[in-house]
Symmetry: D2
Subunit: 109 residues, 4 copies
């Protein structure tokens, strides 16, 4: 069985998290108070990029799922913690996607 | 409406194409006759990477959907043409995903 | 001769541009008036990512140097135009790196 | 001082390693005995991609240098070990770049 078939749930979760983080990044840059969102913009990019990276790596059969998922889980948790500080819908949705993704990542880390 | 909401079908297709290309890459490297698959391995990586790139770029609201999709369409077509030369299931499935993705990319290019 | 040896100057320029854009992104997020820098933050990320992508693609012998460089040139020009609006040192330096990179990209596009 | 200024040596080493791995990947796919190089092709891509990822992440001021460098060091070591099995110039040069990069990564991990 190939790596990407073993990790269907993780792949879906990573994908949703990448989308939620990039959406939150985009929306934060359109907010009136961008300064308040600076940390969120930064962590959204970090989280979107590592989720996208891990997703692609799993589908190509990387032997480093555990190592990468461990880093990804930490970044997802930090991003969730940052997003939870803000009431915007995009932040709240992003926080949920990050929490879920951190949990899935920990299962394989 | 945000960019990623305008491009739901394209995003799904890019995602499936990225997965199919990376799966094909992985499977080609496990074939008995790897030499015959060398061009396929190479184009699979090119295609998986640009599809993943464009997918991520759309979700962050890139203003360059058309330009990137134009390049992506060309790479998808080349990857489809290469995969169609081979009878392996992973190649045939990858070719289909690439053809579909090329079509979706052309709609926005 | 391999692709990365034919493109030494382009590779150096892409690399400097990626660094300048990511540095500018980082510095913009630390400015007092982040809102004024929102477009710059966004275009810095777009430009850094495509420059890094093209750089990596050239070193792996991609057959798509011309197509990717054409998109990259456009993004570099847009990023330069945005950065030139701002007096911050990081913006001015980024604008220069982007102008130079756009020129190098056009040579192969 | 910004993150990318603290990590000049690491950035250079990551960059050289990314280039060496992608060059080795490209050259392996052109060898007569591609099958013998299958593991090398795979690990070259893994290593090139994580080195490029970390390099870009450092220049944008990522707070995750240590975590990412730890994963990168492991992948560099595995890639070096694989490349050292082969006499091709590109493999030997890649192995050296990977060993050096693993050392630099460990300093910050």
């Amino acid at each position: 069985m190939m790596s990407h078939q073993q990790h269907t749930e993780l792949l879906n979760t990573l994908h949703e998290c990448m989308e939620a983080c990039n959406h939150c990044y985009d929306a934060c840059l359109k907010e009136d108070d961008v300064k308040m969102m600076a940390s969120c913009i930064r962590t959204d990019r970090e989280c979107a990029d590592i989720c996208g990276y891990l997703e692609s790596a799993i589908t190509r059969g990387t032997p480093y799922v555990a190592e990468l998922a461990s880093v990804c889980a930490k970044i997802c948790e930090d991003c969730a913690a940052e997003c939870e500080k803000h009431d915007h819908d995009h932040c709240q949705q992003c926080a949920k996607a990050c929490r879920k993704c951190a949990e899935e990542c920990k299962k394989v880390a």
